[in-house]
Symmetry: none
Subunit: 203 residues, 4 copies
DNA sequence: AATGAATGAGATTTCATTCAT
DNA sequence: AATGAATGAAATCTCATTCAT
């Protein structure tokens, strides 16, 4: 609805595409266990039997959504930290990530929440998302410290803090949207977040 | 297991207590939809019929865990912002919340996950947790700004940012615990987080 | 409600009385299989366990309501056919029966419905109600035929016909009461029924 | 068993037909609440799950039997009052109805008895059966009165009386069949009933 | 390639009944 | 005499999955 139509690049058959898209929609609304193959089939406009032609089990359907290649295609979009100033670098990073999150909110919702109960999903997240982002930021912070720009604050902590800020921003934006938690413009909020973080880090 | 035995203060009957505790354990491991009343009964050492003597439906069992009074008893523990210095005030706040989270991790996991799919739960969280913490922090920030201590950064944003930091900290601590994401001592990490935030906010 | 409080004469204990009365109420509203001992207990203001102190099984509770002595106490009220004229005799008969039905409608509803599914109840009805009424009427008709008052119509048929008329009257009165099926006064209707029957039978 | 195989005209699928027929059989033997879906499934030679493929709930299965269209198909068979003499007209009416009842006894048993506990069923009976028969007879009686054939007896009462007679006849025929309540031939009994009624009504 | 039909296994819920107090 | 607590057994209903076409 307020979501892009995800295209599952490595999947060829249009029926399979429809099923995957419907699964994203239903799973994100009701969770994996709370969804039925019947609903997904109905949403996709196919019979339940058809789902099982393409995916051996319901769990396989979930895992197809979260295949490493799938996750990679989301996270690889923005791997570089660039920009003319520190402020710009971080702002670019946050903004690109905010956009990637926005474009894939339903899928991310599924991934994050099902990770709680499926270790293999947690593993994928950790390897494909957490570690990558973490390393990227950590090495950036190390660089800045070496250049004498940043305080001597542990880079892991700084990384987790920044990611936490991003998550907090998303949380209030998506989880409690109508409740006017913050009337400011998204862009201004991101600017403020960066200000807090940067001035906190800078010498 | 790695969790305190929660005591549901307003519940009188020991059997009911056992059922609630078992429900917390099972729901937190498999999610509400993924759990069966049979498992909960087995865990509690009672028959399934006994569960339904105390809770009309499975959903009612979930809601009993998340009753406003329940949630209140968690969140009301620490309502004051106090301490001799700003640093101390914030550190106290974060630490107390970190402890409250630790003591109730299973229950919080359930609440956060199920809030996604049950609007009435989201409502409770919003009213009993988000709004309370938010207001507390916001008024503290407003005070600091008035006193000329803090920069003129939007208090809502500052609040969301600080909460995000806390969430980030928890996330890495609980979601990816074994993966040595951060070897530093918990206390030191909190100190660093506060340093970043405070120096970001201070004039 | 619109029903007398039946008193189960041979029952001594007040708790047992209450249970029987509640059973009549609930069974008549939902049928035997559709009622639960819980409802009956609640209605009687006792615990379910108490019901089973007085009645070994739920079925025994039903049978206690329909014990021959119970049924006898209803039907024996009016055993004579008397009156100064044929018209009066029949009218007295119909009226007394209409009253007996009115005073025991809930119990009769139960008896009639459950007779369908419990042969032992059907047996009781047949012996205690049908046969008695039937014999009474048949011998009256035989007498009238012998006296040259009535046509030579089979007495069994006449009996069944008259009873049918009474049932029809009751049916419209109780089954479709609000639907204004017949605005006339009850007494006038009975008069008309008797006129039809009597003029049909008389030579 | 002693019943025609009802064909549910508007239902297409043979499995659904089998289920409906089995439901008629079981419900008529044990009542709705006293029957289990397991028995019905066994009788129909399908799994319980299959029943719920065709009928969302057990109650829906009951209501499908008593759908207005179903009831209509029974009662619409005989709507005309015709014949050369009054005697013939009434005899035709009673006979046709007696036949319709015979052909659908199990279903009628269900309808009549469940109407006691399910207002929506009572409603259907009233609209589809009672009102139709009632109107038909009432207008016939009005006509006869206008033609000077019948006494000035209230037409509603006359109608209820005649219907009562028919019910009485059926009752003794079906409810106490083996007990030799009436050894006369069915046809003769109907003749007698009509004689009583007609001579009761005629001027 | 797609599906209508069917179901086994199991989930939730109900309910008559027991029993210790 | 009465009941709160508990439950075995069964009832209704669900759902992922299979299979013949």
């Amino acid at each position: 609805m307020d979501n892009f139509q995800i295209h599952f690049g490595h999947i060829t058959h249009p029926t399979q595409q429809k099923i995957l898209q419907s699964a994203v929609k239903i799973f994100s609304q009701k969770g994996f266990s709370g969804s039925t193959t019947r609903e997904i089939a109905r949403e996709a406009g196919v019979s339940e039997a058809t789902i099982f032609r393409y995916f051996e089990t319901k769990k396989d359907l979930l895992l197809a959504l979260i295949s490493p290649s799938m996750v990679k295609s989301i996270t690889d979009l923005f791997v570089d930290m660039d920009g003319e100033s520190e402020e710009n670098v971080l702002k670019n990073f946050l903004k690109r990530n905010a956009e990637a999150i926005k474009d894939n909110q339903d899928l991310l919702k599924i991934i994050l929440y099902e990770a709680l109960f499926h270790p293999e999903i947690k593993e994928i997240i950790f390897k494909e998302i957490v570690q990558k982002k973490t390393r990227l930021l950590e090495s950036y912070f190390e660089q800045q410290k070496r250049d004498g720009q940043f305080k001597d604050i542990d880079s892991k902590t700084a990384t987790q803090t920044l990611i936490g800020m991003l998550i907090g921003f998303q949380l209030f934006k998506y989880a409690f949207p109508s409740q006017d938690t913050n009337p400011k413009q998204e862009n201004d909020i991101l600017d403020d977040i960066i200000r807090i973080f940067l001035y906190g880090m800078k010498k």
